[in-house]
Every structure is written in structure tokens, then in C-alpha cells.
Assembly symmetry: D2
Homo-oligomer: 340 residues x 4
């Protein structure tokens, strides 16, 4: 931490700040310039609210010089983390595509789509059983029955599976039925839920909150990891900006930024990131080109009849063609995507 | 709903859209212009995802003409809702000020502050027992013990009380110990939690999410009300923008906007809304001047020793002076604030 | 400037950074901790791009510790600046209200409105002669003829006058006809225009850009002041956020922030800041309560016939009533507004 | 335009709105539902401020059903526009890369870089002679002398050239010396400048403003086109959001959105869009993958000595390698980039 004192700060005020730093265990170094005095506080104290110094008399500015996260930081773990689920490894050379319907609607629907995405090269099946809907009057998901269908579909089509957990008491049935537990954007800072997930060993797919900075995103991962579960896959899914032609603004630059700051794999959700079917392809291609470790894409064989998010779901033939383009782009940057 | 067809849309495509609208129970009216055809769909269908029409061939644009919320809308409830807790009524002429520490830290701390804010004219005591902290390494609150202190303090100082509920399994102890249950900004779209709160009869203080539009804010209230609990107090607490001198940008204009769209009372949190002590006073005054039905303000007798958010807590003497200014502003616009 | 070196930075890399700092005239102080080395660079060098250090090998982070602006900073000019125009002084105890139509449309229109706002207590008349319209097909203003009407109206009603300058070649006719030159939000970073205005002595009303941080806002003022013209009045007029119920989000907290960082007066434009007539009153009151040094409000006697921005213009009787409320709020915080 | 009347609107109020619509030349169609009446106004009136209806009594909502822009809209010009400069065509199959230094600093600097980017496959040389600097104390560019160097360099290396125009009175020397005139993000809504450019026939590279919606972006193009100059190349360069790890958030989704709404070519500036050298490569690849018609990239042979924006400039060898990756990605999506 670096504390810049005001030009007018008296020696007494400077001493008070230095004393407080020392009482918290910091080594303090004082730099005296013509107008300004700066205190350099050295020590690995990640849990300190720096604003307690900002409110001290004579202080102009306080600057944190260590990231507030540690377990998720590349500084302490230079190598990429590989998150393995069945024979799928996120964070290695191969790029994995998660695909499936927004909501699980029926056995027929799920199995039809599962077969189609498997054939196109997807390695993980997605599908929501519990849906976080903005309106209390909208379809809220099939619940546990849906999860069981996921398990069946995963087995039958040899696909790993992922579904969203919305509340702590769904944990057992989630662990029982799916391979990867997804935390939705609205729950990125549901800290009690993150803590519970930290106690499991299942891979967690953590989606970035709509208004979360990348630092907050990595802090949310830290919550899970602090509990002992290091199997975290990050997922960029669009942030809220003033532009409203698309539902959200997919922050493609989060990919290289996260890769620099963290060792965790990061994938991209172009379906929610744009909310519009005809934008999914271009943004999926952009994500792979920018270095994403995977994608999650909504696919439906009858989008116009989907109970949720039909407007952003690809038709199976669109998905198939997209997978071919993605394979070539992956190849162009020295990575690969599985053949269907 | 109004559906604007593309200039090029064939008669067949127009018919397909009209048929779909009819199958969902809408009355359909067709307006044919020189270049454009517009379909007006009349009917009170709040739970329809309009994007299912956006993806139909030939459709240029779909416009919703009813708000997606109903119970929280002023259209269906023109009079202001009064939310009563003990002898405090939110939404009537009197403006109420909630005050107290960010976190409950000890009996001595809570009772000292409670006495001070009571004396200055606050009518509700605030204090967190469960804290949603961005870092897993920060102080997480006193838990149930804190809630019991709240109950005691409320009794002793004749103040109503409010504290934040973070997870569903805290509900019983919350109902037992505090008068108003607060839903934090990060939980504004924690739909399972909102549903549970809808089953109680306790007043709910619902904070606006950092990236929530006013429509989403009212939809969150709708979740609670749909369960039968109409005692919802809304709370503006700052939105996330590009400006980062303050922690958030307090959206004062949300006050008149909410008053126009909804019958629910709205209060303002200038402490979290700015994150800086010296901005709390000006923004509290602005909120009252703009028509807020109340305020929630963090006060601490020793902010520099606070376990959380000390930097945004007022000293008691600052709070007292602020209350006097607020009384005069309230009077200027024909409202009033209790004498201490 | 403080430069934090990476944990892994070699002594050689640290030396290279220190040398570069010294070559630019900084005094360099080295703080060595267990893991980190920090370089404190002391010296008043405002014109240095700190990113040149960010790209040096071994550098983790660079922190600027002086504001990039100087003339507009309160650090170097602790007293409030008073900007005087005729007998109107911005930045002193009295709060001044600028009022008038969005666009000057005719002599009759301007003089009618001028008389009405004068009577209600406004001290400055506003009106646009050159209009920055988003659409090339919209009304673009009366031009020089409008400016001459402004001059006449100012004389007849004993009001100071303000109008927007859009391009450098309008400077002469502006200087000839109006008392305060307004720089619109879209021109806040039109640096050549700012430079030209710096060469005059006329007061400049500088509006904050829609996406400008407060630092950039003060840097824009710096451009004008660097040319020798210190008569700058700042104007908050709403920033662009994700919320789109209102046209912009009026950033009321900018008032106390600017007052802390700068000695320049700051006023608020609730008309453009909200874009909606029924929000103008509440936001005008909020601005005064938060400490604004003035307001600029659009008033039209026939808003439904206005050639621009009618939807946000107050009727004269609304303006009159608002002025009375504002006077009481001003009084509540120890300031005053002229009687009509 | 569709006008939704309030549930409570009387027949008289509805008539008043209908009359006003007719007086403006619209055909009016009335749709009467159980609770709501809707007026459909048919007619090609692009220059009407719809808010004049929003303020009429009884009106709930007004919805524009035609885009406010026409010349830049794909509706009226379904084919891609090709903008040709020398033998470079923007908007066709080939993707063009503009490259060069941020600022022209000297003949040696410009010619060295020009040679290097030409060799790597760039077809247009960029370089600023007039620099819009946030600080009045920063380097402001070489001016006309720089433009003459551009002309020389373009001739010698057989590259088309582009440089930014900052004010109207630079137009003649711009037309004399460079092939494409760039309008910077801060000038996107400098309407007088856009009008002047509309009178020329030179290609204009129009950068998106930091806070401009895509609609406003296309309206700015409309200003130029309304003057008769249809040679507009759009350029996405990052928007301002709450995320501040990168300087701006590069809005990659603007590429497919613009391609849908407009026939104009759109290119991307990953240098300003990220502000950080190590993010330029990934974002350049993403842009091409998403369908951009070109890129503009800052390259400097000695970025650490650059007078501006060195931190975001690529080294020549990085640029060369990037061009090879881009060629493969272009090929993957059926387009191509020139060999160096």
C-alpha cells in the first residue's frame, strides 16, 4: 500500500498514519519530497479495507499495490489451471464448446438437441432446470425432473453436463445429477452460495455479473477457492453498458485481461452476451480468435417454440456450420476444437 | 404489443404473425400504410417473451405497450402505498430517517450509536449482522448474536429496526428479531429469496441492484408482491457508471421516476451511494429535496475503528446537524421530519 | 508518481526505471520491501504520459499522485473563484438561475419568455442560436439574427445573456452579442475551440460531456484557463448510463466532488439532464440542496410548439412556483436566490 | 410512428393527437382495444421530434418505427458500399489494415515505420499531425509539416494515407496531403465539421464517440452523407463502461450490428480500443473473426520513445506476426488480407 500525504500534512499527522500502519503489521518507508510525503507500506495484508486510511487527516490518496485476490491470481500460480470433467479439460490447448437448450423442456427436446450438438462436436451439454427469470410470471424451469433428464442425456450421448444452481438447498440434487455446477450472473456475488460451492470438489462455471469489474469477478472466484475448490471456470457473458441494441455488451477484451491476471480458464457465452441469434456466430468466432478456452452456446431444434430465450438459440444446422468455422479459427491461433 | 413488419414482408408472413398472436389470446388489429404494415395486439398478457415475435420472418420491430409489472405499478394502484412498522409510516407525508452503524460490532457500539441517532430524530435503527463482503477475508458480521442486540436496542430506544437478510435459512431469526428485512443490492435478483420474503408479512427494504434498470427494480418488487407481501419499501443506493471518483453514482432522478411509475415508497442510501463521508450530507439533502420518502444513513461514533465502511459513516455530530438541514428542506417542499 | 515493480523485477530493471525518472527531472526514492520494490518519484511534472513507464519491463503498476490539472485545482487556489458578468456573480453565496427557451425562435417568443423568467427571479437569459442537432434534418437555429435578438432582450429586461458557440468562426459575433459563451457537452473536448475561448476574457459556461469523468471535465476547464481566461463556470448536465428511462443520469454528486477538487463554480442543467419536464423540478431542487452555485432551466410559454426540446421545457407558471421552492431550500442551507 | 394512449385517455384527447398527426402529413389509423387505444401514424417523416407527442395529454408512449437515418441505412441501400481510395477498396471481400504511428514525429520515424508496415501487408499508412490531447500540456502534433511527410511517405511506399482533421480550417491542407480524412471520437458529433466534410468527395474515416450509441453513430454518418459525400468508413474504437482495466471496452458486437443496419464498411481500432499493447493482438483477431472490413493499428519501431500512445503501439515484429494470424482467420471466414 502507498499512502500519499497532502501537501499540507503536518509531521504529526504523518506519524499517526505511520503508527497505524505499523500497528497492523506493515513495514513503513517514508519518502519525503519537496511538497509531498509518501508512505510505502510493505506487507502481505490482503484483508485490509484501505479506506480506513483514506479518512485519516492529512491523507490525500491511498493506493493498493497488491491485488485483493490471491488464490485466483497468476502471480501465485503462473501455470494455467486445467479443470477436468470426465475427459474434457478446460484451460489446455483444446477449446471446448458447451451447447444445449436454454431450458430443459422435455425428454424429447433435450435428447434431440443433445444428439445434434454431440454430432457437431460439442463436448458438454447445457440445459437449465431452475431458471432465474426477471418476471415472476414466466416459466421457472422443470426442476429436479429436468436434472435427471440431464443425467440420462449425458450418459446416453457421452457428454459432460452443466446446469445452473440457484440456491443452496439445490446442492445435493445438483451434485447427484450434473458434472459442472453453473453460477449465474445474478448470483456472482451470492456469497453464501459461493461458500457452499467451495466445499465441494465439482467444477464450477462462474458467470461474470452484469456490472462486475474483472477484479470483482476474480474475487468471486476467490470465495469458491478459499473453501478449497480450485476447479473454477470463468465465463464472460456480457456487461451492461449504455448501448442497448444488444441485450448486453460482450466484453471480448476480458479474455486476454483474465488470462493475464489469473491462471483460471475463461470461456464465453455469446448467446446471453448478445441476446440475438444472428449475433451469436460472429461473437463466438471473435471469442475463439481472442483466446477463449471455450464457449457455451444455446441451441434449440425449434427455437420459435422454446419456453425461454428462443430468440438467441441457434438452429442445429447453424451450430454445425459455426463449429466448422471455429475449428479453422482455432487452428489459425494454434489451438484445436474436437471434430463432431 | 405492437408489431412493425418489414417493408418487404409478404402477406403470408404478416398472416403468420397475426395467427400466432391470436393463438396466444390477443385481439389483432392490422394497420396498412404505403410501405409498412403494423399489427396492434390488444390483450393483458404480461408473461409473454416478446422476442418470440422478433425472430419471426418479416418482423422489423416489436414494442411492448404494457409494463411487465402489475402489482407494483401505479396504473393499477393510483394511491401511494403506506408501509407501516411500529408507529413509523413510509410513503406518507412524513420523511423517515433510518440510521445506525454499517455492522453491529458489540453491544456497547450498537447501543451508543442507537442512543445518538434516536436523539437526532432517526425513527429506525439499522445495523448489519450478516455482511456481504466482496472479499472472503473480510469481517463477515456477528450473525444471530448481532440480531439479538438489535432487538434489545430497538426495545430500549423505541426504534424500529432493519437488518439485511442474505440467505433463505436466516429468515426465522430475522423475523424473530428485526422489524424490517433488508434485501441488499447484490440480492435484488435473488429470486428464490424474494419469493420466500413474499410469503411473510414483514416490511421489506429492497435495494436497487448496482446495474438494475428501474423496470427491473420494480420487477423485483413484483416478485415479493406476487407472493402476497405488499409491504415493500424501495431503496436507491447508487448505480455503476464510468465515473469512479465516487463508489457509485447515486441516481437521484430515480426518485421522481419511481414515484411516477409505482405507488411504493422510495428511500435513498447516500452512504453506499457515494462511499465517502463528506458526500453523504449533500446527497442526503438532494434526496429529500427531490422527494424521497426516507433515507438510510450510516453513523458511527468511532468511524476510524469501524469494522466495515468506516469511511462512509458520519460522526454523530455531523448526523445531528444534517438532520436539522433536512428538516428545513422537508418543510420547504411541504413535508416534515420528526424532531429528535 | 509511484512506480511499483513486479516481485520478479531484477535490480537492473529497477535501475533502468529509476534512470528514466531521473532523466525527466524527478527525484527518485527507492523503498525496498520483502517482495516488492517501490520507486517514489517526486517532482511537479504534470505533462508526462505515465504509460511510458507502464510499458517498461519489470513494472507492475504506475500511480499518478498529482492531479493532471493545476489551474482548475483547489490545491493551488483554495478560495472559490467568483465569475462576474454584469452584476451577477457565480460562485458566491447567491445562487443564480439561468432561464429561457432551448432555441431562439422569434423576437416575440424570446421577449415573451424573457419577461416571464425575469419576473420569476432569473438573472441570466439563455437561448440557442446555433443548435447541435443529432439529425441533419432538424431545425438548426436562427444564427446571427438570433444572437442580435438576445442582445436586445438582455438590454430590455436587464438580464445577462448566454448562448452556445459551436464553432470557432462564430466567436466574433458571440463576443459582440452575448455575455457568457456556452460550450456544449459535445464540444467539451473540442480542444481547438477551448483554446480560442482561452484567449478571450468572457465568462465561459462549460458543459460536462456525456461520457466525461470529472477529471476530464476539469482538464477541459484547464485548456481554457491555460490560455489566460479564468472565468469558467462548470455545468453538470447528465451522464450516459445504462438507465434509459431518463435521457441521461444527472450526476448530482458531481457538485460536492467538483467543489472539493476545484475552486470553480458549478451549476446544473436539470432540463437536459433529464429530458422530461416533470423531472426538472425535483432535480432542480436536488441540485440546490446539494450545493450547486446555479441552475440553467429551459422555459417556454408554448412548449408544445417549441422548435426543439419542448418536452423538457417548463411552462412559465411551473418555473415561477419552482423558483419559490428553490428560494426556501437555498435558505435552508444558508444561501439565497434573488426575488423576482 | 405508433402512439399508445393511456387507459384513461378521453376520446377528445385521442382526437387531438390524431389531428396533430394529420396536420404533419401522416396517415392515421386507430386501433381500439378493451383498455387501450393505439394510433398508427404512417408516413416517411424522419425529421420529427417524437417527444412533441410524448408531452401531449393522454399519451402513454410514442414509438418511432422508422430509423432516424436514411442514407446510411441498409433498408434503402441493400448492397454493401465500397469505399475506394487509390487501389484500396473498403467494404468488399478484402480486409484492409491501416497501420502507422500514433503521431508523426519526424521524417525518419514516419518513413521507417511506413516501410515496415508496408512490408507486413498494410495498405494504408496512418499518422496524426494534429493531436487531440486531453491535457493542454501534452505534445500537440507536428501540424502541416507532418501532413507533408505523410504525402511523401504515401508516395514513396505506395500506401494510401489517413490522418485526423480536428478543425474546419485544416480542411484545405488535409485535402492537399492525405487520402482519407479521419474524424476522431471526440468530434463524432462536431456537426459543423461533419457538414464541411460532406461537401468534399474524399473518403472519411468516422470514429465512434466514446459514449455514442450505434444509432447516433449512423446519424453522424448521415450528416456527412446528407452533404453528398457517401464515402464514409465507420470505425469502432471502444466505448466507455464501468470496467476500467482497459481504457475503453471495445464493442466487437458493433460489427455485426452495423452490418445489419447499414451498408457502410466498418473497421476496428484495437489500439485505442484497449490502450494496452498486449491486448491489441487478441482484439484485432477478434475483430476480423467477427467480420470487420478492416483494422487500424498503431505501430512504432521505438514505442518507449513515442511522443504519444507508446504504450499501445506494437513493435514491428509483433505487427508482422499478427498480420499472419489475421490472414488465416480471414481465410477461415472466406475473406482475405493482402500478403506483405
Amino acid at each position: 500500500m502507498v499512502i500519499v500525504m497532502k501537501d499540507s500534512a503536518s509531521e504529526e499527522l504523518i506519524l499517526a498514519v505511520a503508527d497505524r500502519l505499523k500497528s497492523l503489521g506493515f513495514d513503513v518507508h517514508k519518502v519525503v519530497g519537496v511538497n509531498k510525503t509518501i508512505l510505502g507500506a510493505i506487507g502481505d495484508k490482503r484483508d485490509i479495507d484501505i479506506r480506513q486510511f483514506e479518512i485519516m487527516d492529512g491523507v490525500q490518496e491511498v493506493v493498493r499495490i497488491t491485488e485483493p485476490y490471491k488464490l485466483s491470481s497468476r502471480t501465485f500460480h503462473p501455470e494455467n489451471t486445467h479443470v477436468q470433467v470426465r475427459d474434457v479439460v478446460f484451460g489446455a490447448d483444446e477449446i471446448h464448446v458447451i451447447a444445449g437448450p436454454c431450458s430443459i423442456e422435455s425428454e424429447e427436446q433435450l435428447f434431440t438437441i443433445a444428439g445434434m450438438v454431440k454430432k457437431a462436436g460439442a463436448t458438454v451439454l447445457r440445459g437449465g432446470a431452475f431458471k432465474p427469470r426477471t418476471s415472476p410470471y414466466s416459466f421457472q424451469g422443470m426442476g429436479e425432473e429436468g436434472l435427471k433428464l440431464m443425467k440420462e442425456a449425458g450418459k446416453q450421448f457421452e457428454l459432460a453436463t452443466v446446469s445452473e444452481i440457484m440456491r443452496e438447498n439445490q446442492l445435493d440434487m445438483m451434485l447427484e445429477n450434473v458434472d459442472i455446477l453453473q453460477v449465474g450472473a445474478r448470483n456472482m456475488q451470492n456469497f453464501p452460495l459461493l461458500r457452499e460451492l467451495g466445499k465441494t470438489t465439482k467444477p464450477i462455471l462462474l458467470k461474470r455479473g452484469m456490472a462486475a469489474t474483472i477484479e470483482e469477478f476474480l474475487m468471486a472466484a476467490e470465495y469458491i477457492m478459499a473453501g478449497g475448490n480450485y476447479n473454477v471456470i470463468l465465463c464472460e457473458r456480457g456487461i451492461r453498458t449504455f448501448e442497448n441494441y444488444t441485450r448486453n455488451t460482450l466484453d471480448i477484451s476480458a479474455i486476454p485481461v483474465v488470462h493475464k491476471l489469473s491462471h483460471l480458464p475463461i470461456i464465453v457465452d455469446p448467446s446471453h452476451g448478445t441476446g440475438l441469434r444472428d449475433k451469436v456466430g460472429p461473437m463466438a468466432r471473435a471469442a475463439v480468435a481472442a483466446g477463449a478456452d471455450g464457449l457455451t452456446i444455446e441451441v434449440h431444434h425449434q427455437p420459435e417454440k422454446a419456453l425461454s430465450d428462443g430468440a438467441q438459440s441457434l438452429y442445429p444446422h447453424q451450430f454445425e456450420r459455426l463449429m466448422e468455422e471455429l475449428r479453422m479459427i482455432a487452428w489459425a491461433i494454434g489451438r484445436k476444437i474436437k471434430q463432431g
